[in-house]
Symmetry: C2
Subunit: 292 residues, 2 copies
């Protein structure tokens, strides 16, 4: 039996049969399909959201948020996963594939998109050998219009423990899911870690690791690139920008130091943000530095 027929029969592209359990579903797979190889692009779509505050004076508390999709089919039926899709080897690159998924899930094009890593553990997908190239997309959530079915934004809380263990809590307002990853240094000469998922009950595939990899990528890049501005609206206050930095870096920054650092990345406009119960602030705008 050839690959295409198998894919059809086994519902990788489209659903053919209603299965009652994951075991039943997997039993129906022809093992010869394991000799074949498929690729997917999975995307960690990251944005910043702000929670409304009860105190009229206080500014809204910001947090990072990521877009997850609830799986409607086996495997991992009912679990959350990153938006992703199968690569059509005939017509598209992995990045084009990712853009297609992104368009479908957010209706946005022209989005910051960066290849993160290729995840390829042999058994990462129980159906067959599926290798996934993960991407990170940064968007300004305010640009989104309608809600997409089965997709939901989760606020991210990251807690780094002493023994190289990270607890990640995701909350979409209705549901809270959490997972724990142990970071094991790969070799003594570098900063690279193997991510071992210690606890994970709600996320499909190896997406817990993908999420942490992506968040760390953003964290490491925020200091030597201007990627934050992909998550900002055109006009913003320096206080808002600082909060985004703080949320990504997961630590408080000192005002004067922060303003020194971003001084040549932004330009002051005439506009102001007023009505916040305290001194109004100037709105700034991203300005590409000349020396770059």
């Amino acid at each position: 039996m050839c690959y295409n027929q198998l894919v059809k029969k086994q519902g990788i592209g489209e659903k053919m049969k209603e299965y009652q359990s994951e075991e039943e579903f997997l039993k129906d797979y022809d093992s010869s399909i394991f000799e074949k190889l498929s690729m997917t692009s999975d995307i960690l779509i990251v944005s910043v959201s702000s929670k409304d505050n009860d105190n009229y004076r206080k500014t809204d508390k910001k947090s990072m948020s990521i877009l997850l999709v609830k799986r409607t089919d086996y495997p991992y039926k009912g679990k959350w996963c990153l938006p992703g899709g199968f690569l059509d080897p005939k017509t598209e690159t992995l990045e084009e594939c990712a853009k297609r998924v992104l368009k479908q899930e957010t209706n946005l094009s022209n989005v910051y998109l960066e290849q993160l890593y290729t995840f390829d553990e042999i058994d990462r997908d129980p159906r067959m050998r599926i290798i996934s190239t993960a991407f990170v997309a940064l968007i300004d959530k305010k640009k989104l219009k309608e809600k997409v079915e089965n997709a939901s934004w989760f606020d991210v809380t990251l807690m780094e423990e002493k023994n190289n263990t990270v607890d990640i809590v995701l909350d979409n307002g209705e549901e809270t899911i959490s997972f724990t990853i142990k970071k094991k240094l790969r070799e003594k000469t570098t900063d690279r870690y193997d991510f071992i998922t210690v606890k994970n009950t709600s996320l499909a595939f190896d997406h817990a690791r993908v999420i942490l990899s992506g968040l760390e990528r953003i964290k490491s890049k925020i200091n030597y690139t201007d990627i934050v501005f992909n998550m900002m609206p055109e006009y913003f206050t320096l206080g808002e920008l600082q909060q985004v930095y703080e949320v990504i870096l997961n630590k408080k920054l000192l005002d004067p130091a922060f303003r020194r650092i971003i001084a040549n990345k932004v330009e002051k406009t005439e506009r102001m943000r007023t009505g916040a119960g305290h001194r109004p602030s100037y709105l700034f705008r991203y300005k590409k530095n000349e020396r770059d």
Copy 2:
């Protein structure tokens, strides 16, 4: 016709027929194979070599060198390329595949190996859709024993031009090959570039881009990791270490500054390097920093 038979017939795994030209070779390909997908792991194996000097006092000039393999089959017959191999989707991960190739080309295991990027332009391989995940390996060339057939070490010279163009010259002592890559900023908010190969007559596939990506990865990581020590012997002088830094960063460093920076990464031993026509120097050894 199923995939395996096609692969057999068309000599992806093993050679079946002697072709006289690339055109003839490609004509023989069944176009239906383009619907399928294969992956390879390609490795940029990087080391440091030193050229002998005519002046007995002067220290040998160091340079980075990379291992290339001469292609014996179409496509790109006779051109140089990175060591690489097809992934067996049934049994191995991309990294294991890379390790297998590494063992075969250098007879080394236990080597620093890092995933670089997944290259997947649709037409990057004229045979069919072959997606390549590139790795960077760092080795100490002195650990190598015998020479491998068709493989050769090329010294690297990198010249960065003003208008974001890079000239790379590779020299293995008998042959000099060079290529030019234009770096085009992908988006204004980051440091990411599209690499456009402007001139390349001697390298197969998209390996010119892979080489530059890999060299830039090393350059960017040398300052915040300890990866250099993977290219160093156990005992080395600080002068030698500094030279390696200078060769990778492509600029001169000031002695006192350099010694301050690497002070807590190395430990002094009792051994000395003598007989060099000048003041002997202490040999140092890599020491993993406690605070890491």
